[in-house]
Amino acid sequence: MTDYRALDHPFRATSNEPAVATFLDELLRPLREEVPAEPAHGSEVTAYHLAYRLEGEEEMARLSVDDETVYRGRRPDRPLRQFLHELNRRCMTQTAQRRPVLHAAAAKLGDRAIVLPQAPRAGKSTLVARLATGGWGYGTDELVAIDPANLAASGVPRAITLRPDVWSLFHEGWVPTPPELSRFLPDRRFLIPPDCTDEPIDLTHVVLYVYDAHLAEDVDLRPLEPIETLRALLGASFSVGDHPQRDLTTLARLTERVGAWQLRSGSLEAACAALAELPMSGRQSTSRTTAT
């Protein structure tokens, strides 16, 4: 049985349906543990099980988490969707007991390590997918935990979920979806970048990325004031409601350490190029046009 870990959430995921089991094994590959998962900080290893009895009109599906049934019904797409949701939620809740958890993407290139805190649908998953298929190390597209002791950032390098409108931008790294499952998730495809890591990294930059189609190939790069940066990090924190003093203090210290920028562009390529050239220190505003 394969064990996995997402930050402080060790887990197993199984299915009685061979196609689903194979798909899970591939989907969760970046989270695989080399050694069997140990309970983390008093928490147990969570067991997810996706059960199916696919018999036409009588088809039933169920997701159980440990001994609790989370979904049981006639919609075969639900266990997989609900599993991904539960995995995220439980990873966040468990990890937030010890460290701030941000809704953010993270990637690394040489000495440069960036975190992209942002609201959903702002384009961060697509941007980090482009970075991670263009030579950057992939940290996560969703959850970043900051260690209060040393400010090291750890991510969940899960497969990146991409919407149909950007599928054509990526040609490699797709998790193969068995034909039996394609009807379960017709609107989702998952991409695993070549260089995934869950090792702690020292962040150098916070970047607020905004996709702006009106800018086309132009890049608008503006330094952020420390208060703006801290507001953005707090706004992305899942854990600040339960741990306000810890999160505020930790994220204020992180803000003091990193460079912070707002990046607007209508071009993924131009945005990636700008991130690779971010100043490692100093604060200056730039606005330029990238050659097409």
Partner: protein
């Protein structure tokens, strides 16, 4: 202790407030409203004092009808601003009875 109109003369840190410094500037986070406000060092000290002691008083000041200190100088003025910003709140009437 209350003033003649029955208004409290002591205040406490509002629930779910956190403070920190960033590049030497003091900030307070109102978690309930998700607001990050820059505050003065004196205000930061006062919030910390209220948080650690449970409450702080306003010596020599009485509260107006609104429950806000009427004076515009010194400690009372800081408390008034913090009350207006929601970072401090008056102790409910009766909760400070018996205190000096």
């Amino acid at each position: 202790m209350q003033d003649e109109a029955g208004h409290p003369r002591r205040v406490r840190s509002s629930p779910r407030i956190a403070t920190a410094t960033i590049h030497g500037r003091h900030v307070a986070l109102d978690v309930r409203r998700r607001l990050l406000l820059e505050i003065s060092p004196e205000a930061a000290d006062l919030i910390r004092e209220a948080s650690e002691a449970g409450e702080v008083g306003v010596p020599g000041e009485s509260f107006a009808e609104t429950g806000i200190p009427s004076s515009s100088s010194g400690r009372a003025a800081i408390i008034r601003d913090l009350l207006s910003a929601g970072l401090l709140e008056p102790l409910p009437p009766g909760s400070d009875l018996g205190r000096p």
